[in-house]
Every structure is written in structure tokens, then in C-alpha cells.
């Protein structure tokens, strides 16, 4: 070991000492150790030199004229701010009280006279290590603060974008949706989307991505895009789900997925169709009886299975006007109390049972959570949709800015969809897009889609699959109807649905004739048409709707063929 500790780096050292002899001696020692020396002969001068030169380290005599070392130390420490400028007192004082005073005034160490060059060098080196450590800590702190600021900024921007994506549907505009989402629920991966189909049904998705923070929110974009795009084009739940699953599977890493409930609420059909993959069970609340039917998770979440293995089977439940569908995220059930006990489904059901005013259900749940835990989690999502009458039919698709001069006006086309196609393909969105090439029809696209959807499902379900609409009289029959539908469709190997479209120009505009034929047994048109509209709507063929929305309806071939007409006036 060398006698003198090696100098790491030349420092600028201020020496404040009123005795000229001591000052000379110290300066010489310090310079020999390789440092640069600044001098002062009293405290005031020391403060002045420090302000001007910002030395790395200060050696300070305690007792000096004009301003003593203690006061000078205090001022220098204040000037130095957050940076560590080590200050070593030079003192002939011996009493512990006086030595303690040196440290109290901001000194970092002291050196007793007479000076020992070896000790002095070692102390300077030790203090320099501390100085560097402090500088590194400050630098890293500032770096972290900068990164943090940057991250917060990114999150704010991302949140603003996602809020627009998540709320561009009808979630805020629809009078029959109430929802509650913690402000940062999206950043915990919760996603709530709602939009109307062309026929006025409502699609709602409540999703929950794995994990937290920005990574959990990135999947929201493509999911929302598929949801809005396909809903507006008239695709059903099955196709929309397949597309969402395939897209997420393709883009997300293996450990990320999205638990989701997707539902279609149809006022026209008085039914709610549900697919639940990995979400806590939601409920259909029958207002008349108070009964709550759970909407169980039957599937793996979206983005886990390959397209071939994905299961798009849905469940259908009957709903009456005023009935409510309630969905929630796991943030509600997983709210934990001080002992890590979870709130759980049981307690939620108790809140349901105690709820007197249906419109205050969310508040009741929040209160129960707060009472359970003392503080509500920041990733809670709840949504409640009420079935209301008279959802208006809306024009769909982008509104084209072209003049209409080039739109086709005199043509016809026929399709035959056979068993294998009927099993797995829904031709309605395609047919709708085709018919929207006719500008005069765009205004009526909602009605057109609704009628097409009714006629197609009649042809498929009652015609090809031979299902009896009277089954749907009660809830049990309702479930059985849709079970049978799935079963028969899966095993279908013969049969067809034909769609003929004919468009002809007239003096004032044009006429569309839409004929739908099926391979089924037909039905007694007279008898079915004689039924009161209410029964028809619940368990019949939606024929009153068809008659109401189209210009003319006629059956032929024993009910196996139906033809409707839509007329339009030429655009001015």
C-alpha cells in the first residue's frame, strides 16, 4: 500500500485560513497532491471565491476574522444547493462540543492541526468519492424524472386517442345505455364499445385485456376497428367474433389476450344474443319477474385459439321491453378487503336483491364496494342496457359524395346459397353492400337491411331448417329453438336459399324487387298473416315488420317464395 492514496482526478480546492503560514503550508501540501488551489483569508472572502469559482471541495479554518468558518460554511452549503461540495474544517479545537459545532454548521468532516499530509490526502479522496456519488444520484434522479414525465405525456396522448376510439360508437348517444368506467379503466385494459347495426339492433362489447398499462391498451385499437366496421356493415356476432379473434391472435404476443362479452340486443326480435369468453357472468334482468339469468363464460378469451379452433357459438335469451342486460369487469368482483377477501359474485347478488330503484343499481354497487374495502379500485367497468321500443332504423355506410350519374339502374342478379354455405356464411352484409350501389336506396338502407334479414332468417330457419316459430312462445322454448337451430345447421347437408334481385328504372326513380326462395315445406300464408302483430313479433316471422317497411309484399309457391318491393324517387 502506498503512503499516499492515489489522486483520482485533479480537483479545485478552496482553502480558507487566516494564518499566512498555515495557508502556505496547506496550499503546498494540496498542490503536491495534484490539485488546484484557491485561497481566502477570511470567511467573507471564502464565500466570494466560492461564488465566483465553484471549487469542488473546501478546507475551512473555523476561527477567522470578518466572518468565521461556521457562518461561511452555512453560506457555502446554501450556495452549493443539491450538489455535494465537501467541506472539511481545519481546527485546533479539541473539545467535542466545538467539533460537533463544525458538523452542525454543515461541515462534512474535520482535520485537526497540526496537518498530517497522509490523512489530509485520504480525507480529500474519501470526500471526493462522496461528491461523485451524490452527483451520480442527482443525475440519475433527473433522468428518471425526465423519463417519467415523458411516459406520463405518452399515456395522456394515448388515453386521448383511445377515448376517441372507445367512444366513437353510440355509447354516449344511446338513451338506453348506462355505464360506469373508472377514468383509468382503459389503462387497466378495460374496453367498452357499442354501435347500431343497419337494422337498428345494438351490439355491445365489454372487454378486458390481460395485464395493465399501455401494453394492455394497444389491442384496443384493432378490436374497436373490427367491431365498428363489421357492425355497421351488418355482420352478425359470429363473423365479428371470428374476425376479432383472428386479428388479436395474429398481432398479440402469446401471453396477451382479451376476455370479452359481445352481445346483440334486438328490439325487433325481443332477444339478446350473447358470447362470453372469460368475463365474469353478466345478467339478463327480467323486470316483470325480477329473475336474473346469468350470462356465463363459455369460451376461451379472444386471441388465444387459432381461427380453426375458435368457437363462435352464441346463446340467445328472450327479453321484454324494459328488461335490462348488465355486464361487469372483474375489477368489481376482485375488489379485495384488508384481509385479501374478494368481493365476489355472492355479494354482488346480495346487492341486486337489495336494490329497490333499478336506476340506482350502479350507485348501490359502488357503495357496497366502498363499504367492503374502504376504497374503490380504479379499474371498474359496468354497463347496463335496457331494451327500449322503436329503435329507429338508420342509414348505414359512408355517405358518398359522388353525383349518382354512374350508379347502375337496370340489372338483375340471382344467388343460390346451398347447405355448406348456409352453415358458415352470412350473405346479408354482402347483399346490402351490393344494393347500396343504388344511390336512391341508401336513405332506406336500414329498412332494406331489416327486411332482408327477416326474409333470409325466415327462409333459413323456418324453411330450410324446418323450425317451428311457435316454439318461441316462452323462455324455455326460446332456448330450445336456438339449440335446435344450431343442431340442425351443424348437420345440414341439403337445401338452399335463393335470392333474386331485380332493379328497374321508372319515370320517377326506380324499383327494387327482392325475391327470396327456400327449399322448405312452405307455410299457410293466410293463417299466419291473420295473427295479431304482437304474437307475430314474439314468435312469428316478423312479417308485420316486413309489411310495414316495404312497398309491397307477396307470397307464392305455398309460402316458399316471397317477394318484396322498394321504390325510390330520383335524386334531384
Amino acid at each position: 500500500m502506498s503512503v499516499q492514496a492515489p489522486v483520482l482526478e485533479a480537483l479545485t480546492i478552496l482553502i480558507a485560513e487566516d494564518s499566512a503560514a498555515d495557508l502556505l503550508l496547506l496550499s503546498t501540501i494540496v498542490r503536491r497532491q495534484g490539485h488546484q488551489v484557491l485561497t481566502a483569508t477570511n470567511g467573507a472572502e471564502a464565500v466570494e471565491v466560492f461564488t465566483r469559482e465553484r471549487p469542488h471541495l473546501v478546507l475551512m479554518d473555523a476561527l477567522m476574522p470578518v466572518m468565521d468558518g461556521f457562518e461561511a460554511a452555512r453560506r457555502i452549503k446554501q450556495l452549493a444547493g443539491e450538489a455535494l461540495v465537501p467541506l472539511i474544517f481545519l481546527t485546533s479545537l479539541r473539545e467535542s462540543e466545538a467539533l460537533a459545532q463544525c458538523l452542525d454548521a454543515g461541515g462534512d468532516d474535520f482535520l485537526a492541526k497540526p496537518y498530517n499530509p497522509v490523512i489530509l490526502a485520504a480525507k480529500i479522496n474519501a470526500m471526493d468519492r462522496l461528491r461523485r456519488l451524490q452527483a451520480t444520484v442527482l443525475q440519475q434522479r433527473d433522468l428518471i424524472a425526465k423519463h417519467h414525465e415523458y411516459l406520463l405525456h405518452e399515456q395522456r396522448v394515448a388515453k386521448a386517442v383511445f377515448d376517441k376510439v372507445a367512444h366513437s360508437g353510440c355509447i354516449n348517444a344511446a338513451p338506453n345505455i348506462r355505464y360506469l368506467q373508472s377514468p383509468y379503466a382503459l389503462f387497466n385494459g378495460d374496453l367498452l364499445l357499442a354501435a347500431y347495426t343497419p337494422s337498428g339492433d345494438m351490439h355491445v362489447l365489454l372487454g378486458d385485456f390481460t395485464g395493465h398499462g399501455l401494453p394492455a391498451a394497444v389491442g384496443a385499437m384493432p378490436l374497436a376497428e373490427v367491431f365498428y366496421g363489421m357492425t355497421a356493415k351488418g355482420y352478425g356476432l359470429a363473423q365479428t367474433l371470428r374476425e376479432m379473434n383472428a386479428k388479436l391472435k395474429r398481432i398479440l404476443p402469446a401471453d396477451m389476450f382479451c376476455c370479452a362479452t359481445l352481445l346483440c340486443l334486438s328490439t325487433q326480435r325481443r332477444a339478446v344474443e350473447v358470447w362470453n369468453g372469460g368475463m365474469p357472468e353478466g345478467y339478463v334482468h327480467e323486470v316483470a319477474t325480477g329473475k336474473r339469468t346469468p350470462l356465463m363464460s363459455r369460451h376461451l378469451p379472444l386471441g388465444v385459439l387459432s381461427a380453426e379452433q375458435f368457437d363462435d357459438r352464441t346463446e340467445v335469451w328472450p327479453v321484454a321491453l324494459g328488461d335490462r342486460v348488465f355486464l361487469l369487469s372483474d375489477g368489481v368482483l376482485d375488489t379485495a378487503d384488508a384481509n385479501e377477501q374478494l368481493f365476489g359474485a355472492e355479494r354482488l347478488l346480495q346487492v341486486f336483491a337489495a336494490n329497490r330503484e333499478p336506476d340506482r343499481l350502479f350507485e348501490d354497487i359502488e357503495q357496497a364496494l366502498a363499504a367492503f374495502r374502504g376504497q374503490v379500485r380504479d379499474d371498474i367497468s359496468m354497463v347496463e342496457i335496457t331494451l327500449q321500443a322503436g329503435q329507429s332504423l338508420r342509414a348505414t355506410g359512408p355517405l358518398y359524395a359522388d353525383s349518382g350519374q354512374s350508379c347502375p339502374l337496370d340489372w338483375s342478379v340471382s344467388f343460390e346459397f346451398r347447405a355448406d354455405t348456409l352453415k358458415r356464411y352470412d350473405p346479408l352484409p354482402y347483399l346490402l353492400q351490393l344494393l347500396l350501389e343504388i344511390h336512391g336506396l341508401r336513405e332506406q338502407s336500414g329498412a332494406l337491411y331489416s327486411v332482408m334479414a327477416e326474409l333470409y332468417s325466415n327462409a333459413l330457419e323456418h324453411g330450410v331448417l324446418g323450425l317451428d316459430s311457435r316454439l318461441k312462445r316462452d323462455a324455455e322454448g326460446f332456448a330450445q329453438y336456438y339449440r335446435l337451430r344450431n343442431e340442425r345447421l351443424t348437420h345440414l347437408d341439403t337445401g338452399f336459399v335463393r335470392v333474386h334481385v331485380q332493379v328497374v328504372p321508372t319515370d320517377t326513380g326506380g324499383t327494387l324487387s327482392l325475391r327470396v326462395e327456400d327449399s322448405g315445406q312452405g307455410f299457410d300464408v293466410e293463417r299466419v298473416l291473420a295473427r295479431p302483430p304482437d304474437i307475430d313479433r314474439l314468435s312469428g316471422r316478423g312479417l308485420s315488420l316486413v309489411r310495414q317497411l316495404s312497398s309491397a309484399v307477396g307470397w307464392s309457391d305455398g309460402g316458399r317464395s316471397v317477394c318484396v318491393e322498394f321504390c325510390w324517387k330520383a335524386l334531384a
Binding site: 395485464g211 396477451m256 376476455c259 372469460g278 365474469p280 363459455r298 369460451h299 388465444v304 374478494l342
Partner: protein, 101 residues
């Protein structure tokens, strides 16, 4: 939280035991445990006997493990799960991918 591994005498079965909370904080440890095993075991057993809690990122980690072990060809048993943990696995329908006991 700790993740422990045990390879059977014949080298065919890898057992991974998770103690305490099974959440994102165990991500790296969990991966290290199965990524370092050669030759790849024929069967993986995930022992949740001493797992007190499990969140959705833990489900993600199970999917990563399944991916690593061969995806659809992998055979993974999840054993000794508590009723709370079992509930989480059931809601996500993970029994369609894992053999849950």
C-alpha cells in the same frame, strides 16, 4: 413469491411450483424455469398448491409456457389449485387448454 422446479428422474416430467402470489412480478422467474430445461420435457406439471393469488397476467404466463411446450401438442397439467384459483381458471375456460385437477 418464488418459483421452484423439479425434473423427474427419467427427465420426462418438469414440475413447476409457484409459492405465494402468481402475478406479473413472477414473469421472469417463471420463464427462466422452463426455458432452461433441455431436453424439453414430455409433460409439464404446474403445482399451485402454495399459490395464494393469481391474476390475468399469470394466465398469460401459462399460455407462454404452453406455447414453449409445443402449443396444441403440449400436455400441461395444472394441479392442486385452490377454489379461488380454480374459479379464475374456470371463468377463462382454461380447462380447454390445460388438464386442470
Amino acid at each position: 413469491m418464488s418459483v421452484e422446479k423439479k425434473v423427474s428422474m427419467d427427465g420426462k416430467t418438469l414440475t413447476i411450483a409457484i409459492k405465494g402470489r402468481f402475478d406479473f412480478s413472477s414473469h421472469q422467474d417463471f420463464r427462466n424455469v422452463y426455458e432452461g430445461v433441455y431436453p424439453k420435457p414430455e409433460m409439464v406439471v404446474v403445482d399451485l398448491k402454495e399459490t395464494t393469488y393469481m391474476d390475468s397476467s399469470a394466465l398469460g404466463m401459462l399460455l407462454l409456457l404452453r406455447d414453449h411446450a409445443g402449443g396444441d401438442k403440449a400436455y400441461i397439467r395444472v394441479v392442486n389449485s385452490s377454489s379461488d384459483v380454480r374459479k379464475i381458471l374456470a371463468i377463462s375456460n382454461f380447462d380447454k387448454l390445460f388438464d386442470i385437477e
